[in-house]
């Protein structure tokens, strides 16, 4: 881990009508750092993650991701930026039900002008790392929860992102499977040097992180 910031959010606020969900939050993630954002349900963790990852524009404040300020970037430019710099892991996996495991992994590459063989080669490599080489052609409906999440992690890594955003990645899994997923994330962090910002409400999971950020009622508590 080096100390250069891969992600920083300054004085971030998000209002939905009169309701202020995130209130003047400043936060950063250093390159290769594993940061856990913890807090009770409804405290604004997921909204903050959306603001930091460029899925949503803040009402106030600015976000700098991989050295680029993304606060006022257009939606399409943000999408392109996400494709090259960011990986997402969601609680409910969000795999495309009509695509096979390898196609789901290669999904971010579909709009990229490369051959299908190259897409498949890169997806296969990642699925093998996730020990899913034998499930390449299976549809999500044929995979277990843990397998689905490993496919989702492989998808998040397909473009070699500098940072992974994980929103309750073990929330839909039993504890054993959840532990296995956490092991993968830790391995990515320690061995591959990928920065991770993970949202969770389970304090136990946060223990493995380099740093813990607590949120309470839209603000950073500690």
């Amino acid at each position: 881990m080096n100390n250069s910031k891969i992600l920083s959010g300054s004085d971030l606020s998000k209002k939905y009508g009169e309701l202020e969900v995130v209130k003047g939050v400043s936060i950063y993630v250093a390159a290769g750092e594993f940061v856990c954002l913890v807090g009770k349900s409804g405290c604004g963790k997921t909204t903050l993650l959306s603001l930091l990852s460029g899925l949503e524009h803040p009402t106030k404040g600015k976000v700098v991701l991989s050295g680029k300020e993304i606060t006022d970037t257009s939606e399409d430019d943000l999408a392109l930026f996400r494709r090259e710099n960011v990986g997402f892991i969601f609680q409910s996996f969000n795999l495309i039900p009509t695509l096979s495991a390898w196609e789901n992994v290669a999904l971010p590459l579909f709009p990229v002008k490369i051959s299908n063989e190259e897409r498949r080669r890169r997806a296969t490599e990642l699925l093998e790392q996730m020990e899913l080489g034998h499930r390449m052609e299976h549809l999500p409906s044929a995979l277990s929860g843990g397998e689905k999440q490993r496919v989702a992690i492989a998808r998040a890594l397909i473009n070699k992102p500098k940072i992974l955003f994980a929103d309750e990645p073990t929330g839909n899994l039993d504890s054993a499977t959840g532990d296995a997923i956490m092991e993968i994330l830790n391995r990515l962090h320690t061995k591959e040097g990928v920065a991770i910002l993970m949202v969770t409400h389970e304090a136990e999971l946060a223990k493995t992180a380099d740093r813990l950020v607590r949120m309470h009622d839209g603000e950073i508590a500690s």
Binding site: T47, L55, E56, D76, F90, N94, L99, F110, D167, G171
Partner: protein, 416 residues
């Protein structure tokens, strides 16, 4: 646009795909069938005139002498003077003309329907040349006759006999089977135009109500530019008087009385409705599709698909679905039109165009030209239908692109 993703989406979401394809295909099929039917009725309406090589027939109604003896004109076809014929010939849009003289001849022993024809004119009753069943057709410059076969059988007339008509004698050179011939301009006895003119000109009874000179006629068959038929019909009435009977394909179409034969406006309106219904079905299905796939679209955007990437993918899906719907619609239309092609259509021949004296037994019966509905789907219509389906797919996809842009990944991906 990713083809594999597109194919899998259409294949695995069978219910959604089939609903979209079936819905639109019915609209397209309706559009094709309606237009094919409209064209078929138009074509059918051409049949009675086409059979005598004409686009228009013209005659002028008048009086019949009180005493029905010797040669008279039917009340539906009295003299059209030579000068009027020349005036008509010079009208713009006239491509050719055939002349004939139709007479009722009441001799003491029998009555004749006599038709004087131009033997070598391809426009008019001379097309009956192909209907000679025995003997030969009338030769130019010769005073000879052809007798209709059933009439000849009834009166025991044979080729080689001589028939006497209004005091003139004509050798019978052939028998004509008119059963398959046109229903207009048919007769018992066919003579050269000059001979028939001679009979008419020498009939005092006829001259008393409808003065007739050599060179005059009472039936005209006109070949015309298709686009000018309506204008010509009006001009002909201008020359011959408002009461003149001008038969055109349109006038037969009106006699058919079918909804499809009523007007182009009906077909246009019905086609428009079919298209609008098809577009609405396609739009509704695609809109439902996008609403159903909001989460999927959110995922695509989150992993780096731009709005344009997402719209291109959905647009391609929409176009392929609509293209398939177009093909299916065409197939449905082909099956339906094949079934409809067995339908018989009876085209009523107006009484004033029927040559039979209405006061004789059976003379007042309605005559029909019966034919199988000539329904088919021309390539132009088929291509238009498929092209229209693709355009509908493209428009629907493009319109729904705006909805895609409104889908925010952060909102649709927020965990449960």
């Amino acid at each position: 646009m990713n083809v594999g993703y597109l194919v899998r989406e259409l294949y695995y979401q069978k219910r959604r795909t089939l609903t979209a394809i079936l819905g639109l295909s019915i609209g397209i099929a309706l559009l094709v069938i309606l237009n094919a039917l409209s064209m078929a009725y138009r074509q059918a309406a051409h049949a009675p005139l086409k059979e005598i090589g004409a686009d228009i027939t013209v005659q002028r109604p008048g009086d019949v002498p009180k005493d029905l003896a010797g040669a008279v004109f039917p009340c539906s076809a009295v003299t059209i003077r030579k000068e009027e014929v020349e005036k008509i010939r010079s009208l713009p849009g006239i491509k050719g003309m055939g002349k004939a003289v139709l007479l009722w001849v009441f001799d003491t022993k029998q009555a004749w329907i006599v038709l004087g024809i131009e033997q070598n004119n391809t426009i008019g009753p001379a097309v009956l040349r192909s209907a000679v069943a025995e003997g030969k057709f009338l030769e130019d410059g010769k005073s000879e006759s052809l007798v209709e076969m059933s009439y000849a059988r009834q009166f025991g007339i044979k080729v080689g006999d001589t028939v006497s008509v209004n005091g003139s004698r004509f050798p019978v050179v052939g028998l004509l089977d008119a059963s398959q011939a046109a229903k207009i301009a048919v007769a018992n006895l066919y003579l050269s135009l000059a001979d028939a003119e001679g009979i008419a000109a020498s009939s005092k009874n006829l001259q008393s109500v409808s003065p007739f000179a050599l060179g005059d006629v009472n039936l005209l068959f006109i070949k015309a530019d298709q686009e000018k038929i309506t204008d010509l019909a009006a001009s002909l009435k201008g020359i011959l008087g408002k009461k003149a009977t001008v038969a055109t394909p349109d006038s037969f179409l009106k006699l058919l009385g079918s909804l499809f034969a009523l007007s182009d406006k009906f077909t246009l309106a019905a086609s428009l409705i079919a298209i609008i219904v098809a577009v609405l079905i396609a739009f509704k299905t695609m809109a439902g599709n996008i609403a159903e796939r909001a989460r999927e679209i959110g995922v695509l955007k989150a992993v780096g698909w731009t709005n344009r990437n997402v719209v291109a993918q959905l647009l391609a899906e929409s176009i392929i679905q609509c293209f398939l719907a177009g093909l299916l619609g065409l197939l449905i239309a082909l099956v339906v039109t094949f079934g409809l092609s067995f339908m018989k259509v009876n085209i009523p021949i107006p009484w004033d165009m029927a040559p039979n004296p209405h006061f004789l037994p059976g003379g007042g019966d309605q005559i029909y030209k019966t034919l199988r509905l000539p329904v088919h789907i021309p390539w132009t219509l088929a291509s238009f239908a498929v092209l229209l389906s693709i355009v509908i797919g493209g428009l629907t996809g493009a319109l729904l692109g705006r909805h895609v842009a409104k889908i925010k990944p952060s909102e649709v991906l927020r965990h449960e």
